[in-house]
């Protein structure tokens, strides 16, 4: 069980988040919705441990995977190495299997700059699932993709989540994405942002 309790979070003296408390059970997917700039990505960064400057406490597991808004790959390493070098214990065989699983079987030696945006996002997805994770965090994982690619990626993401059953926290603007992937929806609103009842 992931426990999230953010009593307060401020930037330059201005409070942007207040009293955000929720839990995520293993295997559950929670979608966090809200208007642009309200602080959804900040919640994700706090939950992931990337932003330690807040008041509150988070109980999170060690094994976390994070899918960023941008693919955030190592452009100087090929697709296979993007999986193997980020995760130290991943064998070449396992990395190849994962690339096959996300439809990049023939792209093991391609650099990220040689892949389309859709393929780069698939590679980021493979990186998130190549090792077992207890908490999966996704920050608008389908941004900037064509509609066809979004459907494709959503299906693949849903399948991978259902196979590995991590606790999942995702941020999205698109209600439809949340409806397809999430078991529960939470909405941020107000200034400072709080969870709607």
């Amino acid at each position: 069980m992931i426990h999230i309790c953010i009593t307060s979070k401020s930037f330059d003296g201005k409070e942007i988040l207040r009293n955000i408390r929720f839990e995520i059970a293993a295997g559950e997917t929670v979608a966090l919705l809200g208007p642009s700039g309200i602080g959804k990505s900040t919640v994700l960064r706090i939950v992931a441990g990337l932003d330690p400057e807040y008041v509150g406490h988070i109980i999170r597991p060690e094994a976390i995977s994070y899918i960023f808004q941008e693919p955030t790959l190592l452009p100087w390493r090929n697709a296979l190495d993007n999986l193997r070098l980020v995760h130290s214990g991943v064998s070449r065989e396992r990395a190849r299997q994962m690339l096959e699983r996300v439809g990049l079987g023939g792209k093991a030696s391609a650099f990220p700059t040689q892949l389309s945006l859709g393929q780069q996002r698939r590679l980021a997805l493979a990186r998130a699932f190549v090792v077992p994770c207890e908490l999966l965090i996704m920050d608008e994982p389908f941004t900037s993709l064509d509609a066809a690619w979004v459907d494709d990626m959503m299906g693949l993401t849903r399948d991978l989540i259902s196979e590995t059953r991590p606790a999942t926290l995702m941020v999205t603007h698109a209600r439809q994405e949340a409806d397809v992937l999430a078991d529960r929806l939470l909405e941020l609103s107000g200034t400072p942002a709080t969870l709607e009842a």
Partner: protein, 250 residues
Amino acid sequence: MLDLSRLTPLVSIAGFFGVWILAAAFSDDPQILPQPWLLLDPLRQELASGELLFHLGATVRRVLWAFCLAMSMGLALGLMMGRQRWLNRLLDPWLVIFLNLPALVLIVLCYLWIGLNETAAIVAVTLNKIPNVATVIREGARALDPQLTAMAQVYRMSPVRRLRHVILPQLAPFITASARSGIAVIWKIVLVVEFLGRSSGVGFQIHLYFQLFDVAMVLVYALSFICIMLLVEWLLLQPLERHSQRWRSA
């Protein structure tokens, strides 16, 4: 088909020799500026006696020591100063002082404090170069992609892996730039160090032939070392740079 762009450096070097030949013809005094071919005999003599290789070896050894020390210490310092604001505030005045301290002052002080020995020579050259390397690398460290830093953190990459696969590739253009300018500046400072206080090396020989007013021998030693530096540039630095940047052209 002949690739003309590959010939450009050769044409450029031919142009350099052309200017030299014209200037030598204009001065009409081999004591002041001999024609390039008049250096072949003194070059042969120095090679045959073993003097040239001995002194080139001494200078190369000092350049390598100072280069490795200055690059590794400058890299570590620049990286820390670029990432830690408090450290940058603390050390920035030191950096400005050392950047503006004339090389000659550091060399003389090292000889006075440490003695006329090899350690003083290498320390003097290293201290002269560290601030330049640190300044360039600091800019690179400030420009590191925060998203990649977050990715490395959330996936718990070890410090060594982060340095090798996330940080150093981003710093590669800055490292190459400081290495290239570094090796050029270091060998010039090494020559001054040898000129002032060593009994071997290209700088020592130039000092000797300066006293004898032998321009040809001064040029033989200087050009021989430039040839070594060009080989280092073409056979080591440029291939390394191409290798580290191959993903850009993929």
